[in-house]
Amino acid sequence: MTHAAGGSVRPDRPPRRPRTLGIAAAVIAFSLFAAREVGFDPSTFWEVWSNPLWEKFWPIPWDWVTDGSNVMGPLIETFQIATISTILGCSLALPVSFAMSSLTTPNRPTYLVSRAVMNVVRAVPDLFWAKLMVTAVGIGAFAGSWALTIFSLAVMVKLFSETVDGADPGPLEAARAAGGRHTPSVRTGMLPTVFPDYVAHALYVFELNIRASIVLGLVGAGGIGRVIEAQRQFFRFDRILGMLVIIFVVVFVIEQASVALRKRLV
């Protein structure tokens, strides 16, 4: 080798860093501990096939499922909950998002408070809100709508305030330079830029709400979940399976429409 000299000495294999090994060991130890705590039972994976309950899933009683008052009525109620919650939640989210973005916030305290509050709101799982609302205003779709409105608000401000953060600050600066007050400046200097994203995010939140609204009834907050909960008490899994089929067909159609609309917007 002509030029292979000059520093080309085989290096020693670097030892695995003790920190890497430590992290790996900790992760494995935690997993084993957690597995014991949750009653990890791999036998479920094969014993599940021989479970006698499976017989209760079949055949699907189609005449019960297709009877309007059993499934379609509650399903429509579900979508009503999702719709009103999306509209209310996303409307509320518009000003809150602007308050939560460092570009458009009126002042520092508003910024900090809105961020902190929204982080806490988002840390509460959606069905916890539903249960709280059921307790406050009583069982039914009314409670569910409130819960999903809060959930929509929490998700929407997260998505939309990040969009605002990433938007071009130039027009806003221009509006302020022209002596505009805060709200009109944001309205003319920022909103037009981010409005298409706002609509796209709102449609996305609507898709999430459609999915979330299906399970609301399991905690008493109205919609199709109430029927699932009732049938589960009677072990009528055949009816549940039938309902699920209907739900997924309808949800799939709505989602595809919403996705197509979103693609056109962005």
């Binding site: 030029h3 292979a4 000059g6 080309s8 000495v9 085989r10 290096p11 294999r13």
Partner: protein, 268 residues
């Protein structure tokens, strides 16, 4: 020995990349293939190891028919052919040594290589290959931390680790600066001379072709329009191959002295 007979390649979509190629390359040759982009240089290299399937004709490498070979046969053929790429095709997120060990995949049992339990003799082969290109000290460095020239030398080491009888280099220096280009071409030339590995290199810098090639093959529109000794080549030949006059862009055009000792321009 490599023998191409009446070889044609038509891509799905109807582009005819190669048309009726007849070519024989003897063991130990150093062949430079030139031509405009789109002339079929890349396709020619890739039919030799079956990465691009031939539409018709025959490709015989070391006595084995490549056209229509079964996947197992194809792997067998490829294991004896090293390949070097314009964009290096290294895995940036892993070490140099792991990249070079990929050259041993065809001889190591799949379960061992998948678990990373490379046999000692394959590690040794990878180290030797790195020593040949002079960057063994980088063996445990991530590939992404190397300069372009060093990355291409890792690419050469990966091909060398296959202990191949044939080396294919697809525009190996296009992504490199002039000094590093000469260095890499020098490596290829040295490997060809010292190890007797048959080498086929695609180039589009004509001065490099003249400087390093011994035999020159010119492609135009998927056909061989020149095949001969590099000594017989003049500017007229290149004009014929390119179908236009030669410009400064066709030259690597470094005014330096080729006799000067190779310098590692990366200085790492």
């Amino acid at each position: 020995m490599i023998r191409l007979e009446d070889l044609s390649v038509t891509y799905p979509g109807g582009v005819e990349a190669l048309r009726g190629i007849d070519l024989t390359i003897d063991d130990g040759e150093f062949v430079v293939v030139v031509g405009l982009s789109g002339a079929g240089k890349s396709t020619l290299l890739r039919v030799l190891n079956g990465l691009v399937p031939a539409t018709s004709g025959s490709v015989i490498v070391e006595g084995t028919q490549v056209v229509g070979a079964s996947p197992a046969t194809l792997r067998q053929i490829r294991s004896g052919i090293g390949m070097i790429f314009q964009t290096f095709n290294l895995v940036n997120r892993t070490t140099v040594l792991n990249n070079v060990l990929m050259g041993r995949l065809s001889v190591v049992p799949a379960w061992r290589s998948t678990l990373g339990l490379w046999p000692a003799k394959d590690r040794e082969a990878a180290m030797v290959a790195l020593e040949r290109v002079g960057i063994v000290e980088k063996a445990y460095v991530r590939a992404s931390n190397l300069s372009g020239g060093q990355q291409q030398r890792v690419g050469i080491a990966r091909a060398l680790a296959q202990e191949p009888g044939l080396m294919l280099a697809d525009e190996p220096v296009t992504a490199l600066d002039p000094v590093t280009s000469r260095h890499v071409m020098g490596d290829l030339q040295r490997i060809n001379r010292e190890l007797g590995i048959t080498t086929v290199v695609n180039l589009h810098f004509l001065d490099l072709a003249r400087e390093y090639g011994r035999r020159l093959v010119g492609l135009r529109d998927g056909e061989v329009v020149f095949d001969g000794d590099i000594g017989d080549v003049n500017d007229e030949t290149f004009r014929d191959i390119y179908g236009r006059s030669i410009t400064a862009e066709d030259m690597l055009a470094m005014g330096d002295n080729p006799a000067s000792p190779p310098v590692d321009s990366e200085g790492v």
